[in-house]
């Protein structure tokens, strides 16, 4: 084995209205199973160290967590180095359950958009209400980012995390840098309007 590489080698761009960076490799496991099944809940919690989240939400630990993809799909996050082991543990726990767990760590690319204007940048690409009173850490959204699918959550108040297909990494990075180009600020005070 050689040293695993991300799709874009950790590229980043700062001289913009928000900082754009490719995230390091992240362990990701797709779990297809009936999420209402207690065996599934237990196995997922054991593997990720987080409770199974409800629709539209994510439960995050430090480097691990669970994202709600659909009523029969979770995206399990774990340290990249631990993905094989985590997958085996999960599969073992679910051996008697109708479930499918696969490693998709390398099938994805991941980006962060950071800064007070991160919401503006995201709002240029996704048909989603990113106002602070509508989208906040803990929420999870699968949507369209310009012309490709993306999964989005906030890892901090001013940080978005985006997961897309690895083959589309360059496209997504280019999109973000275009959307964050200097001089493209939307709101003069840098605050996306929200209800008080």
């Amino acid at each position: 084995m050689s040293e695993p590489v991300t799709a874009l080698g950790g590229v980043s761009s700062d001289a913009r209205i928000a900082a754009i960076a490719e995230a390091p490799l992240q362990g990701m496991i797709t779990l297809r199973a009936d999420l209402s099944d207690s065996a599934v809940k237990k196995a997922a919690k054991a593997a990720a160290g987080a409770d199974v989240p409800g629709p539209g939400t994510v439960h995050l630990g430090d480097e691990s967590g669970l994202c709600w993809m659909s009523p029969d799909e979770l995206l399990l996050l774990c340290p990249y180095a631990e993905v094989t082991e985590t997958l085996e543990r999960l599969q073992k726990a679910l051996v008697k359950t109708h479930a499918l767990a696969v490693n998709v760590s390398d099938a994805r690319a991941s980006f962060t958009v950071t800064g007070p204007r991160a919401r503006e940048v995201m709002g240029k690409l996704c048909p989603v209400d990113f106002a602070p009173d509508r989208f906040a850490p803990g929420m999870f959204r699968r949507t369209r980012m310009a012309q490709v699918p993306a999964a989005i959550w906030m890892s901090a108040d001013e940080t978005f995390r985006i997961v897309c297909f690895r083959s589309q990494a360059q496209y997504v990075f280019d999109l973000l840098t275009v959307a964050a180009q200097p001089g493209s600020e939307v709101f003069s005070d840098g605050k996306t309007p929200a209800l008080a």
């Binding site: 659909s70 009523p71 799909e73 699968r142």
Partner: protein, 109 residues
Amino acid sequence: MLILTCPVCGVTAEETEFHGGGEAHLTRHGPGSSDDEFQSYLFMRENPRGVHFERWRHVYGCGKWFHAARCTTTLEVFGTYPAQTTEPPKDLRKTISQKRPGWTWRDLT
């Protein structure tokens, strides 16, 4: 451009997040069916002016198929419901009756 609420994940989103899938509640006819049955299954579709039942997929979201009851003239959406059913739920039909008294669709009223 429509907005639809996916009954599976609960997200309300614009049409570009979804993909239309044509008429809902078709009955599959396979081997053993008559030519008429099979042709009707493959090709014959409702084309109503008014209440219609359609299939949609939340293609950029949870990926699930669902059904929508919609007015083809005003684009009013009466409701959405999961795909795992062979006919529209009763309460939705009641809602439609309140809004469009006397509606018909195939043999539904």
